[in-house]
């Protein structure tokens, strides 16, 4: 991070409860997560002077969160653009705010509910369709198109690389294996490959178990300068490097870019590795976005843990990414099992792993982690490490 200004560290993480049912007031979710993050860091909430929320239209605003917590003033803040790399956008902007000196304690938050976060509903608007969607909506794409889009990618990948649906299933099974040991997780029962393959078809060949599990919840991550972090109570989790990428034609519903299967994950990964002295061989734990199983597989390959199209061989029936594997992956259960709180939870889990606080699911001696977020034209990635890594 020296190329960017001050070195930055994660010093606190906080969560609300994650729930599938009910309609909790997001003000309580956000307040709970932010208070917990500040308490974890050992600073008063009022010391927070930067705040960033990756906010969907109907989500709670930074103004609301600040007001509900009685934070007297913010030096820098943003309800970040929804075209950024999902919830990690909050963290990436918070890091830049601390690195630049714009603030000292920057909070990244993602607070989402099932009502504000849903994207798969059936559209009913029959007005002529403008913009890029005029090339999508007339064919049944729907308002977001995310489900048909991932169905298309799944079938194309299987045809292009001669792989099978079981490859996708191994990602779904892995999430439950880890979530079993995560009290926050909403889906904690293990599933079998038969369970996966017989799951409800959403958009053939996409299965419901390929998709994340929407919940209500909030995650907060607190950053400060590495120098300040050394005086706080937790082991500083240092931001080693980060990258964004869009790829070409980012306006196009993730469909008309350069790389149909891997999208901008490839360019994002290249940019990340160009900014660090770490290599894939140095990474102890991976927290890779799993809004869809296809996304996780793509990130593994884009980051270079294996070659493009080689995930099946590399993952070794799931052993590589499971407990005791050479690259423990998505150790919280991720969006597929912990519940979809939209990206930031992968960074929170990475920080707890590097601090050694994950209990039964702790990866022994974890000192480095890679975190990725989102897909398509909205990719983001980060490397974090301990001081002695």
């Amino acid at each position: 991070m020296s190329y960017f200004g001050r070195e930055v560290a994660v010093v606190g993480v906080g969560y609300s409860e994650f729930t599938r049912h009910g309609e909790p007031d997001p003000r309580w979710l956000a307040r709970t997560a932010v208070s917990a993050a500040a308490a974890d860091a050992g600073i008063p909430v009022t010391a927070i002077d930067g705040m960033f929320h990756y906010k969907f239209n109907d989500d709670i605003s930074v103004q609301q969160i600040q007001s509900d917590l009685g934070i007297p003033d913010l030096a820098v803040f943003s309800d970040t653009t929804v075209t950024g790399p999902s919830g990690l956008t909050s963290a990436l902007e918070a890091i830049q705010a601390v690195a630049s000196g714009a603030c000292d304690y920057a909070l990244a938050i993602r607070c989402i509910t099932r009502r504000t976060g849903h994207a798969g509903a059936m559209g009913t608007d029959d007005a002529p369709v403008p913009g890029i969607h005029q090339y999508l909506a007339p064919f049944g794409w729907g308002s977001s198109g995310v489900l048909p889009g991932f169905a298309l990618r799944k079938r194309r990948r299987m045809a292009q690389y001669g792989t099978t649906a079981e490859e996708y299933g191994l990602v779904a099974l892995n999430a439950r294996k880890w979530a079993k040991h995560n009290e926050r997780a909403v889906l904690r029962d293990e599933i079998t490959m038969d369970d996966y393959l017989s799951a409800r078809v959403v958009a053939d060949p996409l299965l419901v178990l390929d998709c994340d599990y929407p919940v209500n919840g909030a995650v907060a991550v607190l950053f400060t300068s590495k120098e300040r972090a050394e005086d706080l109570r937790n082991l500083p989790v240092i931001v080693d490097s980060f990258a964004y990428s869009t790829g070409k034609n980012p306006d196009a519903g993730w469909m008309f870019g350069d790389d149909f299967l891997h999208t901008s994950a490839t360019s994002c990964a290249s940019r990340l590795w160009s900014r660090t002295s770490l290599t894939v061989d140095d990474i102890d734990v991976a927290q890779l976005y799993d809004g869809f199983t296809h996304v996780t597989i793509s990130w593994v390959e884009a980051l270079g843990f294996c070659g493009i199209g080689e995930f099946t061989d590399w993952v070794d029936g799931g052993a590589t990414i499971g407990p005791g594997g050479s690259l423990p992956m998505n150790t919280s259960g991720g969006h597929l099992a912990e519940g979809r709180v939209h990206g930031l939870q992968f960074l929170a889990e990475a920080a707890l792993q590097l601090r050694g606080e994950c209990g039964v699911r702790q990866v022994p001696d974890a000192k480095t982690a890679v975190i990725t977020s989102a897909f398509g034209a909205q990719t983001g990635a980060m490397l974090v490490r301990t001081e002695d890594a």
Partner: protein, 156 residues
């Protein structure tokens, strides 16, 4: 009238007026949609690098040249991928299920991918790589290009 019968009636009324979405042409896309209305498929071709650009853009997506002109293409394409939708993501397709949502590559340029529907083809006959040809669906308010299995069967 029972509540459920009333809901059924309201749904039938709604479905009789809600139809498949049509495009809203703009300053860049108008020639594409006007050609569709004449049952011709035109794609922007760059006079400088000869590559094709889809969807329509202000400039060549490959080299950035302004010299892009809509050029009639053969209408032949290859099936790149497809999803079989048994639930509708827009209410206008409720009576068109199962719907084959597809990506197809036009014969003229391997990087020119269209999102479309494959119609008139048995689901069990769909194969990635199969040759397709364009046909048109005239809707109230616009004509859209769809694809079906090539009648000549000539591989793309």
């Amino acid at each position: 009238m029972t509540i459920s019968a009333q809901i059924d009636d309201e749904r039938d009324d709604a479905m009789s007026v809600l139809h498949k979405p049509v495009p809203f042409p703009d300053s860049v896309s108008a020639p594409f949609w006007e050609a569709c209305a004449q049952h011709r498929l035109v794609v922007q071709r760059c006079d400088d690098c000869t590559r094709f650009t889809y969807p329509p853009r202000l400039q060549c997506t490959h080299c950035g040249s302004d010299a892009v002109d809509f050029t009639e293409v053969s209408g032949r394409a290859t099936l790149h991928s497809f999803a079989i939708l048994r639930q509708a993501f827009h209410i206008g397709f409720l009576t068109s299920l199962p719907l084959v949502l597809a990506t197809v590559i036009i014969d003229e340029d391997p990087d020119a991918i269209l999102v479309t529907n494959v119609v008139g083809t048995a689901l069990e006959d769909l194969r990635i790589g199969m040759p397709l040809e364009v046909e048109y669906e005239d809707r109230e308010g616009g004509t859209v290009p769809l694809f079906r299995a090539s009648r000549t069967g000539v591989a793309a």
